[in-house]
């Protein structure tokens, strides 16, 4: 569905006098429907006026463009009429002449008498017909702005753009003019975009409020829908039960943005101390990363094999661990600087969910996408997902093994069960180390398990289980594993000229690109089955699993195996905070963690997008940020980023009650 007005990946860079580049706006994507009133809210200097000028066509964006009714906007024009903050009335023409001038120049097809009629109508609309002969210099600020609005509306533009229209006025005049503007816009039904820093004004007038993060590289942080019915009146709006909740949400966002801007990195160690440290240990301390054997760790292993870490000037040691618990413990005592974690873990650790102490982590990139399967033991004689549902709907018990720290496999499975009308609480979830899942299955301790493809391949190979469901049926291309570093480590190493974190990310990114090329599959297999990696005993099952035919036969859908594990293609490596937001909704939904107050700040803190993009720059890779912003889980279900809390509350079997404030 083509929208009326669209901002497509708009970016704006300015070159300062000294030659440095200021990236004011970064990747703005926005769709506005006809007749909608949208407010752009943000701190001063965040770029909202720049964005409005781009919408008007007064500035050209450095990248991306604006599309109005299917055509690109490159020049300003009267169908995108602007009301400026400084009114911009010609002081040497009377009020009437100002409006008449606009009509004369724009609506040339009308006769003189028609234009005169419209001028009078416009002035009457803003109740200024009595002072039509006066010069703008003789009017108050509020009256001048009304003239500017009359001039704009007289032209019947397709799009009305207002740049802090009431910013220069006192509060009483502002209130009065807001109501007038609201009535005028409601009557005319013009699509309007207004820039303001007044939260109450935004709530009174708009259908949606778009919140911009602070510059530089400002982007859309959040979009809040304003559900008050039209026609509105100020009193009714203020008395609406949701008014203060929305207001607080907006203010909280702005507050978070200010905190984020002010947050200082760890204080740099004095030069003497750094030199002393360097002198005592002639070679830099190696970076220690932990991982569990699985296909998702392939980029790390490939990076080690091909010496990509050394290429970035880093010494990295990979530590193969036995369980998530071990990795967790080692991170806490700082024996590990980072690890390949499940995509749900960094947030779980950062928030201290599931009764653990918080440990802030920074996600530098997504290591792999997809790659999970639900395997049921052959003794159960269930061979498909329908069979599974039947089994559960009959109330029969089921013991499923899941990794011992929260994994995406578990979250997706729970989500899927709930969607099918089965309460996940019915299932007995047994948390075990992923290495021990297969043994548990064969030992009859569990009826099945949800885990990565490697174990699924092994189970199939040994005929102890069969795959009944893969995550492609639940959320294709979800983030599975991420590379996360301890925040304390990142801060400690961020002041070096050649940031270690960026180098690390770059090395793994290069490895990921390698992994995703089909021509490299053989080499990949070789790397994975070396004794340092998983060992040669896994060669056969891996070969089976990576082959096109076997696994595909067992699945209900024709999912190409090439997409089964994705490491790099399709901007897969981007650490997307929106996916983290989904994890937060699931944590809240299942009662594993309370809904965070400052989720924006939390997500910005955990997802190190800037690190990732710097690493991309270093490798000369472009276009690694996904342009699509809607998250489609399977079966037409969308994850709506704008209303995560209500999304979480309204999901089936959610432990959140709807009247939570």
């Amino acid at each position: 569905m083509a929208s009326f007005l669209q901002l497509d990946s708009v970016e704006q860079n300015f070159t300062r006098a000294d030659g440095t580049v200021l990236e004011a706006l970064s990747t703005i994507n926005l769709e506005i429907s006809k007749g909608e009133f949208v407010s752009l809210v943000g701190h001063s200097g965040c770029g909202k006026s720049t964005l409005l000028n781009i919408l008007a066509g007064l500035n050209q964006p450095s990248r991306g463009g604006v599309i109005l009714e299917g055509r690109q906007v490159t020049e300003p024009g009267p169908e995108r009429m602007v009301v400026f903050q400084n009114y911009s009335l010609l002081p040497w023409r009377s009020v009437r002449q100002n409006v008449a001038l606009a009509l004369r120049e724009v609506k040339r097809e009308l006769s003189a008498s028609e234009r005169a009629e419209r001028t009078e109508a416009a002035l009457a609309m803003v109740n200024l017909d009595k002072v039509a002969e006066r010069m703008p210099g003789q009017l108050s600020g509020g009256m001048r702005q009304r003239v500017a609005i009359a001039r704009a509306l007289a032209l019947e533009p397709k799009l009305l753009l207002l740049d802090e229209p009431f910013g220069a006025l006192d509060a009483l005049t502002r209130g009065h003019l807001q109501e007038q503007l609201m009535q005028l816009c409601q009557k005319a039904g013009i699509t309007t975009v207004m820039v303001t820093h007044d939260v109450d004004e935004a709530l009174l007038l708009s259908d949606r409020v778009v919140l911009l993060t602070n510059g530089p590289k400002a982007h859309i942080g959040r979009i809040v829908a304003v559900p008050f019915e039209r026609p509105r009146c100020r009193k009714a709006v203020l008395q609406h039960p949701d008014y203060y909740k929305l207001r607080n949400e907006l203010l909280e966002f702005l507050h978070d943005q200010r905190r984020l801007s002010n947050r200082k990195p760890a204080p740099p160690k004095p030069a003497a101390e750094l030199q002393a440290a360097a002198a005592s240990s002639p070679s830099p301390k190696p970076i220690r990363l932990g991982y569990l054997p699985g296909l998702d760790a392939a980029p790390l292993l490939v990076a080690r094999q091909k010496q990509l870490f050394e290429k970035q000037g880093l010494r990295v040691e990979l530590l193969r661990c036995q369980s998530w618990e071990e990795i967790d413990d080692l991170l806490r005592i700082e024996r590990l600087d980072g690890a390949a974690l499940s995509a749900a873990q960094p947030l779980t650790m950062a928030t201290g969910a599931m009764a653990s102490t918080p440990l802030p982590m920074v996600v530098t990139q997504t290591l792999s996408r997809n790659g999970n399967a639900l395997v049921l033991g052959t003794q159960l004689s269930i061979s498909s997902s329908e069979g599974l549902l039947l089994h559960l709907r009959q109330g029969l018990p089921l013991k499923l093994g899941v990794p011992d720290r929260l994994s995406m496999a578990e979250l997706l499975l729970r989500h899927w069960l709930a969607r099918q009308g089965v309460d996940p609480a019915q299932v007995s979830w047994q948390r075990r180390s992923p290495m021990g899942l297969l043994a548990a299955l064969e030992g009859g301790l569990i009826d099945g398990f949800a885990a990565g493809k490697l174990r699924a391949c092994l189970a199939q190979h040994r005929r102890s289980g069969r795959v009944v469901l893969t995550d492609s049926a639940i959320w294709p291309n979800h983030a599975e594993k991420v590379l996360a570093l301890r925040e304390s480590w990142v801060d400690a190493h961020s002041n070096q000229a050649n940031s270690a974190a960026v180098g690390l990310t770059a090395a793994v990114l290069e490895a990921a690109a390698f992994c995703d090329q089909t021509s490299h599959r053989q080499e990949l297999l070789q790397v994975l089955t070396e004794p340092q990696a998983f060992g040669p005993q896994l060669l056969a099952p891996l070969q089976e699993g990576l082959a096109e035919s076997n696994l595909a036969k067992d699945l209900n859908q024709a999912t190409s195996l090439l997409r089964f594990n994705r490491f790099f293609l399709g901007q897969a490596s981007y650490p997307d905070p929106a996916e983290g937001l989904w994890v937060l909704t699931q944590l809240a939904r299942w009662g594993m963690a309370p809904w965070p107050n400052h989720r924006q700040e939390l997500l910005e803190r955990v997802y190190g997008r800037r690190l990732f993009l710097e690493a991309c720059d270093r490798l000369g890779m472009i276009d690694q940020e996904p342009t699509q912003r809607r998250y489609q889980l399977a079966e037409g279900e969308y994850f709506d980023l704008d209303e995560p809390l209500s999304y979480a509350t309204n999901l089936p079997f959610s432990t959140l009650s709807p009247c939570l404030p």
């Binding site: 007064l58 400026f84 010609l90 002081p91 040497w92 606009a102 724009v106």
Partner: protein
């Protein structure tokens, strides 16, 4: 007389009277040749003050005629300077290359005193009258050019944005935005220029001219008669008053044309 008028006149009246008194006192000594105000008036009353428009043929004319002759030259030179100056100012204001290109030349030439141009202009034009007009032209043109150029560039961005959004036609842009917003700057230039032009003509005439008030002053000096100093002083007073009137005239016209600016 109204109260406010009295209040306005009192200070200048008192101070002027004080200066005249001082002057009279300084010149009262019998050994002094320099006339005091009373002597000036008495010596020049007839014919200069009483009959400003007497004409005895040749260059022996009343002060009124002399001033008119000077003004005539100013009018020609100044009008030329205004036309050429405003046009050049427009070009400089609109085109960055031209502005940057000609800026050094303008900055150097505008500091040259008017009289330094006189020998060159005499060589060029041979005739004293034309030379004087040229001197006025070359003196008056610089402030007009510079201020007009500045005015064009100082059109507030807001109005330019409005013009872009409304897609104003060239004619409307010129008449509704450019002219009214540049007018004050242009008239500032014109006002400075008229002062300079009047200055230049008096000086030029003193060096080489037939008729005109500058000529009158120098002629009186050379004649060296009894009342020459008084004649010179009177002429100076007249020059000053005319200069003031010219300045006020241009200012008044400028106000009428510009209209409200904010």
């Amino acid at each position: 007389m109204t109260n406010s008028l009295v209040r306005q006149i009192k200070p200048p009246l008192i101070c002027t009277a004080a200066i005249l008194l001082l002057w009279q006192l300084l010149c009262s000594g019998t050994h002094s040749d320099f006339p005091g105000p009373i002597q000036v008036i008495s010596q020049t009353w007839n014919p200069y003050i009483a009959k400003p428009f007497y004409d005895d043929g040749g260059t022996a004319k009343g002060l009124g005629w002399q001033i008119l002759i000077s003004l005539q030259r100013v009018a020609v030179g100044y009008s030329l300077a205004a036309v050429v100056g405003i046009s050049c100012g427009l070009a400089l204001g609109l085109n960055r290359f031209i502005r940057r290109g000609f800026d050094p030349v303008i900055q150097v030439l505008r500091t040259v005193p008017p009289l330094a141009w006189l020998p060159i202009s005499l060589l060029l034009f041979q005739q004293a009258d034309a030379a004087a007009i040229f001197v006025i032209f070359i003196t008056a043109i610089w402030p007009i050019v510079i201020n007009t150029a500045m005015g064009i560039r100082e059109i507030p961005q807001d109005y330019r944005n409005v013009a872009r959004v409304l897609r104003l036609r060239k004619r409307s842009f010129l008449w509704d935005i450019v002219v009214p917003s540049t007018a004050p700057y242009v008239f500032t230039g014109l006002r400075i220029a008229i002062g300079l032009a009047w200055l230049a003509i008096v000086a030029a005439e003193m060096l080489k001219a037939d008729g005109g008030i500058g000529f009158f002053i120098w002629d009186a000096y050379n004649a060296g008669g009894d009342s020459s100093t008084s004649q010179i002083l009177l002429a100076i007073l007249y020059v000053g008053v005319v200069g003031l009137l010219l300045d006020r005239l241009v200012a008044w016209v400028g106000d009428r044309v510009s209209g409200p600016q904010r």
